[in-house]
């Protein structure tokens, strides 16, 4: 079943035509990785899907419904979550407070003005569960700005998971992570239940090939090809434009 469908998406910044008629379909439960050279338009594509940037033209469907005209916070309500390429967190708050805010985004009582935050047990529980799952419980009272880079990346992902999404867009989740953290991260990502769909931008090929079951190559703003990891690996042209030969040596 197609969960996310992008149809003929175009995006220009003034005279720069960045995305040129992108078409992508993502099925439910898929681990869909988007790769492509720097500046191909991957982040821009995410921004357009999520509504952070307005599209120039084209359509975006989520579960069959068009969503390209609704504000981005409503897309979260409809089941989308995302992380940012550059850490985008509440630096002055603790890890726990960050997570709570995130969880609350989908709760009905988020507009409640009178009942103190501490009194919501479900909130506390969910927060606790998430932190446990992602092995961050120990760090829960630390201010985010004092976390190491890798930890902050992790928190990015926790936040996007907290909104209880059906589909998550992850923008270079492992960039800046050490191999240790990266492999832990891959392990944790693999634990994400199957019903949650993941769309991931990644440059680290190990990560790409250990997670992906579908890969889209974005080049100069067009989706050159969408195929299984094996096909991508075997494609000569892609080898050239993206891997520049040799980089795949240890696969």
């Amino acid at each position: 079943m197609t969960l996310l469908k992008i149809e003929d998406l175009n995006k220009s910044f003034k005279a720069l035509h960045i995305l040129k008629g992108v078409n992508i379909e993502v099925n439910k439960g898929e681990r869909h990785v988007i790769i492509g050279p720097n500046g191909a338009g991957k982040t821009t594509l995410f921004n357009c899907i999520y509504g952070t940037l307005p599209l120039s033209s084209g359509k975006v469907y989520l579960a069959g419904k068009r969503i390209d005209h609704i504000p981005s916070f409503k897309r979260t309500e409809k089941g989308m979550g995302r992380t940012f390429q550059k850490n985008n967190l509440f630096e002055e708050l603790t890890v726990e407070e960050n997570v709570r805010l995130a969880i609350m985004g989908k709760k009905k009582y988020r507009l409640n003005m009178f009942k103190p935050m501490q009194n919501y047990n479900d909130l506390a529980e969910e927060c606790h569960r998430l932190l446990e799952e992602w092995e961050m419980t120990e760090r829960r009272t630390v201010l985010v700005k004092e976390l190491s880079y890798g930890e902050q990346r992790l928190l990015e992902i926790i936040l996007s998971l907290s909104t209880n999404p059906e589909i998550i867009l992850l923008d270079e989740p492992t960039s800046g992570m050490s191999p240790t953290e990266t492999s832990r991260f891959v392990k944790l990502i693999k634990k994400i239940p199957d019903h949650i769909t993941l769309v991931i931008i990644e440059h680290d090929m190990e990560v790409v090939f250990s997670l992906a079951n579908k890969i889209t190559v974005l080049h100069h703003g067009t989706a050159m090809m969408t195929a299984s990891p094996e096909e991508i690996r075997g494609n000569q042209m892609i080898q050239e434009i993206y891997f520049g030969g040799g980089a795949l040596s240890h696969d």
């Binding site: 190491s148 880079y149 800046g176 191999p179 492999s183 440059h203 891997f243 030969g245």
Partner: protein, 233 residues
């Protein structure tokens, strides 16, 4: 060229570096590896003067760097590619480069903006765009270009390959090797062990603010135990 002795650095009250010792000789490239939070960036910052070590000495070309301000250190010939790019969003791409351009004090190789543009043609194309209108990888290129234009004698690179596509990493690798040939000394922090081992003459592994291993790249690549324990590979 540069020598750190028993450097102890703090953020506020938290003690991050517990007596780091390391040395980079002239024309040498040293790679600094370690897990997230090991203190790699802190080491870089201690050298660049962005963090002032409370104890220890840092000798650079016979000058003591501890206690000097970042601008002095930079003027003394230290260039920095910071972690997270840190390009200036309110400057255009060109201005981001212009601001760094200066004459080298000793090395004969002089980088110019044109050369940087040749290295990364996309920067030329985006010349008039603001710093934050670049893609992540393009910003990384800009940060590298900016550091080269300082024409330093000693270059600090904090995860230069972060967020770059494999082709570009390959390119960066070549750049580093080229630059090395001009006699520039470097300290590189990397997560990409392949890249690090390819360019470095020596590798240092940091853990919890202490140097836990030091040796040749080849040794490291063949020491599975080490790779597993400290780098998780």
């Amino acid at each position: 060229m540069i020598e750190l002795k028993e450097v102890h650095s703090y953020y506020g009250h938290s003690h991050i570096l517990h007596g780091v010792n390391l040395q980079v000789k002239k024309g040498q490239c040293v790679a600094l590896l370690g897990r997230n939070g090991a203190g790699k960036t802190t080491t870089i910052h201690s050298i660049a003067g962005l963090v002032v070590p409370k104890e220890g000495t840092i000798q650079f070309k016979d000058k003591e760097l501890v206690g000097r301000t970042p601008n002095h250190i930079s003027k003394a010939g230290v260039g920095l590619v910071p972690q997270g790019r840190r390009v200036f969003p309110s400057l255009t791409v060109k201005e981001n480069l212009l601001i760094a351009e200066r004459k080298s004090i000793s090395s004969e190789k002089q980088w110019t903006i044109e050369e940087v543009y040749q290295l990364f043609p996309i920067l030329k194309e985006r010349e008039e765009n603001m710093g934050n209108e670049l893609s992540g990888g393009q910003q990384q290129m800009l940060a590298i270009g900016r550091a080269l234009l300082l024409n330093p004698d000693f270059l600090l690179m904090d995860e230069p390959s972060e967020g770059l596509a494999p082709v570009i990493i390959e390119q960066i690798k070549n750049i580093i090797l080229d630059v090395k040939k001009t006699g520039l000394s470097m300290l590189i922090v990397e997560q990409n062990i392949d890249l690090a081992c390819c360019v470095a003459d020596e590798v240092i592994i940091l853990n919890k603010g202490e140097v836990v291993w030091q040796g040749l790249p080849a040794e490291l690549l063949h020491n599975d135990e080490l790779l597993k324990v400290h780098l998780g590979v």
